[in-house]
């Protein structure tokens, strides 16, 4: 910041500094007017009345609104611009979803109301489940997992429960590609499995021979992401499925990249036995700064009996939420994965998107998503370095060889992109290439936006090759904060404000 830009307030035009709420409070201010409760009956508190104040700040409504408004202005969202994070599917979040989710007849419902009074809510869950089953070609879906990783764990639990029930409890090994997202091995470990990595081939796909060599009668399942984290469709997927099944194991698919094939391929036709679907990715529910999401997991006929509680069934009279295993004698649920009935608010939003798009719209969305990623790949291949030949699916991968000898790292490149008004692509993932840059534009981006992005990325690449490393190291310059010290944050963790 130059001298001429210094201000008395520390604010710079619309870039407003904002303190913590604890620094803004003033005792006695109030932003919620509540009636006087009258004298408190202490007899009923078991002698446990709070002795000391909580320590929260008091603010009035105008201050609170201003506080959060200012905070929001420091954030980049999909609403701000292109957000090309690989495997995150940052597509537009339709506003209709927000409107219908707020209908009192859907929002103001308690999960434990008598079931006759919530048939419409059960219909929301059942309708979404139906769409997910038809889109994937799978007979059953566990609706309750709250996120993708949660869905992975749910699928793996069903697999473990199946093997245990069939006297195959010795199957404890799970095969996971080296390119897999960290949640895959973490989820496997939570089910008591050991993780055995499989290498990738030169073309970025799973090495089928290496996979076959690792098969044995102690393998519980393979976890595969398809399209994979390099943005490529696993071309040998049918052979992979056959090999896995022959070994008496299951084929779990990480559905993070479902946006590439939704409406075009049913995962049942690929030989997959279980897959979680990230509603907050493929089905456009808002990311909200990190959540909430939902990870309904589709299951094969063999795994279906092990689906967790609760689930919705049709029972002649209407829809019924099954909360106890005994209610359905053939069911052998492996347990319950979370409280209540699943991420209902997220279901509404996903269903609103699905009903809006329809089967034809979803197919067009996957087509445009793949088209956009290939457009980026084709137009940037000469200026960046692509480790794998195209076509790619819905995301394209570059490595940092194009930055060799420039002194500019993937990180520096990303920070420079921020100054240009774009959120960076995913950096350093997947681990199978050096200094990865993984871009997923999604179908929501216009050609004009993509052309602008291409021009900027190309310009930055040229600038790096021309020897402007110092410039990159100083980026970003134009953001509310610059190059925050993550080492300091980890060495001396300060995780809360203290008086």
């Amino acid at each position: 910041m130059t001298e001429s830009q210094a201000t008395f307030s520390g604010n710079r035009g619309l870039m407003l500094e904002e303190a913590l709420i604890f620094e803004l409070g003033h005792p006695g201010r109030v932003a919620v007017d509540l009636p006087d409760p009258g004298p408190i009956d202490l007899d009923r508190l078991g002698g446990c009345r709070r002795a000391a104040p909580v320590g929260l700040p008091d603010l009035a409504e105008p201050q609170v609104v201003r506080h959060y408004t200012r905070l929001s202005q420091k954030n980049y969202g999909i609403d701000s611009g292109l957000y090309p994070l690989g495997s995150c599917t940052m597509k537009h979040n339709p506003r209709l979803s927000e409107k219908v989710a707020r209908l009192p007849g859907l929002a103001d419902l308690h999960p434990f109301q008598p079931q006759a009074t919530v048939q419409g809510a059960l219909e929301v869950i059942d309708s979404l489940a139906h769409w997910l089953k038809v889109l994937t070609g799978m007979p059953e879906v566990a609706m309750s997992p709250a996120a993708g990783a949660h869905g992975e764990w749910c699928g793996l639990m069903a697999i473990r429960a199946y093997h245990e029930a069939k006297g195959q409890g010795h199957r404890r090994r799970v095969l996971v590609p080296e390119s897999a997202h960290g949640t895959n091995p973490a989820s496997a470990a939570m089910c008591g499995f050991t993780v055995d990595p499989i290498p990738a081939k030169e073309n970025g796909r799973v090495d089928l021979d290496a996979l076959k060599a690792k098969l044995g009668d102690d393998v519980a399942c393979l976890m595969l992401t398809n399209p994979n984290t390099c943005g490529l469709f696993e071309t040998e997927i049918l052979e992979i499925a056959a090999a896995i099944h022959e070994a008496g194991a299951f084929f779990y698919c990480d559905g993070a990249n479902f946006n590439a094939i939704v409406g075009r391929v049913r995962i049942a036709d690929l030989g997959i036995d279980a897959m979680h679907i990230n509603l907050h990715k493929t089905f456009a529910t808002p990311h909200g700064g990190g959540g909430p999401g939902a990870g309904p997991t589709v299951l094969s006929a063999e795994l279906a009996p092990f689906a967790p509680l609760p689930f919705v069934v049709a029972d002649g009279a209407g829809l019924k939420l099954v909360e106890h295993a005994a209610e359905i004698p053939e069911s052998q649920p492996f347990g319950r994965v979370k409280g209540y009935h699943g991420q209902f608010g997220v279901f509404i939003r996903a269903l609103a998107y699905i009903l809006s798009m329809g089967a034809d719209g979803l197919r067009q969305a996957s087509t445009d998503a793949v088209l956009n990623a290939n457009y980026l790949l084709a137009r940037l291949a000469d200026q960046l370095s692509a480790p794998f030949a195209g076509p790619c699916m819905h995301e394209c991968l570059f490595d940092d060889s194009f930055l060799k000898d420039t002194g500019v790292t993937t990180l520096d490149f990303a920070k420079a992109l921020i100054d240009e008004g774009f959120h960076p692509m995913t950096m350093y993932f997947p681990l199978v290439v050096h200094g990865a840059l993984l871009m997923e534009p999604t179908e929501s981006e216009s050609k004009e936006t993509l052309d602008q992005f291409i021009a900027v990325v190309g310009g930055l690449a040229a600038k790096a090759k021309a020897g402007a490393a110092e410039d990159f190291k100083q980026s970003p310059r134009l953001t509310p904060r610059r190059r925050l010290d993550e080492t300091l944050a980890a060495r001396n963790p300060v995780l809360r404000w203290k008086a």
């Binding site: 709070r50 959060y68 939570m190 700064g289 990190g290 609103a352 970003p476």
Partner: protein, 449 residues
């Protein structure tokens, strides 16, 4: 199609730049046998009007809480959310932002999470809190796993006063691990003896306060007993508003506190999405699962916030991670924080007092019914009511629903295998209940019983 900007002309231009004859060529890696050639048996796209109509139709088939005297709790509570919360949540920069991995363009989310973590630590009386988990039940399960990790022991005790979903989720998470759970029977009268069960093999004891059936306990003796045995005390809270009036678990000696945060900011939404609160002591911070926002400075020396201690997490530690959790409940945490900021110290205390006062009022009026007895010795805003030895609380609830009253939830819905709980009804009263609501409930119960 309103969400897809490309025209056919755009697509043609782009295909030409790629050098592909058509879009199908881009999918050549998909095995021919797997390509869908016929349309799926699903409806086509619709405009906003039709989609809205569909949802209004589904909404009409429900009896919403605002349309009836309403007394259901059991872990999800109907509180009034100030209008400002929703308006602020709809700001696109909050709604459509991702996890704050690029801190320079995410200071809004990161500062809000730092404030949230502070609020949770203050409420629970603990040193540090994470940036939230999926919900209270999964947070409870993670706490049990953490207790095992910290103590290097393999057994946890689950109190009979723990919410049945928290219990069931914890049991499920532990199922294929080395950790076992000793599960106590449901405990409506608060008679269970936890202290007597703590041995040197116990990693942790998990209790809920107030309990599922109401009861509020001073947990100090239990905390003492746990610590003497080298075990951790995990305390679950289902309505954080209670912490505005009753002593915090931290002040009573808890090592880990987990809670369902739905009560503040979110409305009920049929029980989901949830908000898991998770707090612990400084010495256990590195063993805590989930995301953490931390304070730091930037290159110009200004205070800012980043995600920190990430090396515990799955994207780095993979199979050795503290958990597989990747998503938090970001928007719900923001809503919680906004609501609590609006309430402040003064507002929260008053809200908590109001809730308790309503429940006391309800108990007082219920006293006029013969044969009906509140079994909870103490409570915050929810208690267990015994309807009489031969009563079936489930039938009573159905009968009242037919009269347009949502009269709590029968214990048998959670404990179908405990016939002695058949007459037990859980009733909650919050600031949203009026005197007329209470009178309607009591009158209807009188008719039905």
């Amino acid at each position: 199609m309103r969400y897809l900007p490309h025209t056919d002309a755009d697509r043609q231009e782009m295909l030409a730049a790629i050098g592909a004859p058509d879009a199908e060529a881009l999918f050549r890696d998909v095995p021919a046998a797997a390509r869908l050639t016929k349309p799926l048996d699903l409806p086509g796209s619709q405009g906003e009007l039709e989609v809205e109509r569909a949802f209004q139709g589904m909404a009409r088939k429900n009896l919403s809480a605002g349309c009836a005297p309403f007394f259901i709790g059991a872990g999800i509570y109907r509180h009034h959310v100030p209008a400002a919360v929703d308006q602020l949540l709809l700001r696109g920069e909050f709604l459509t932002a991702y996890t704050p991995y690029q801190p320079e363009v995410s200071q809004g989310t990161l500062q809000a999470l730092f404030e949230f973590q502070t609020q949770v630590a203050l409420l629970t009386g603990m040193d540090a809190a994470n940036a939230s988990m999926y919900d209270g039940a999964t947070a409870c399960a993670e706490a049990a796993v953490m207790a095992a990790r910290v103590t290097k022991r393999h057994k946890v005790i689950l109190s009979g006063g723990l919410h049945p979903h928290f219990r069931a989720t914890t049991e499920t998470v532990l199922r294929y691990t080395e950790i076992t759970a000793e599960v106590l029977d449901p405990d409506p009268l608060g008679f269970e003896d936890l202290i007597g069960r703590i041995g040197p093999d116990i990693a942790g004891v998990v209790v809920q306060n107030p309990g599922f059936f109401g009861g509020i306990r001073d947990l100090r003796p239990l905390a003492e007993a746990c610590h003497q045995a080298g075990a951790l005390l995990v305390v679950a809270v289902t309505d954080p508003v209670s912490l505005g009036l009753i002593e915090s678990p931290g002040a009573m000696g808890a090592d880990i506190v987990v809670a369902e945060g739905q009560s503040l900011g979110m409305g009920m939404s049929f029980g989901g999405p949830g908000l898991g609160l998770f707090a612990t002591r400084d010495k256990y911070v590195r063993q805590m699962p989930g995301r953490l926002a931390g304070q730091t400075i930037d290159v110009d020396g200004r205070r800012g916030f980043v995600l920190t201690l990430s090396t515990r997490e799955q994207h780095i530690r993979r199979e050795k991670a503290t958990s597989n959790i990747c998503t938090n409940s970001g928007l719900c945490a923001l809503a919680f924080s906004m609501h609590l900021t609006l309430l402040g110290e003064t507002g929260l205390a008053r809200l908590a007092e109001l809730n308790h006062a309503k429940a006391v009022r309800l108990e007082t009026k219920l006293k006029r019914l013969k044969g009906v007895r509140v079994v909870s010795q103490s409570y915050f805003n929810e208690f267990a009511l015994r309807l009489g030895d031969e009563a079936d609380a489930a039938q009573v609830v159905e009968a009242l629903a037919a009269r347009g009253i949502l009269a709590g939830v029968p214990a048998s819905r959670f404990y179908p295998d405990y016939p002695e709980l058949a007459p037990v009804l859980l009733l909650a009263a919050t600031e949203t209940n009026t005197e007329a609501d209470i009178d309607a409930l009591v009158a209807a119960l009188e008719e039905v019983l």
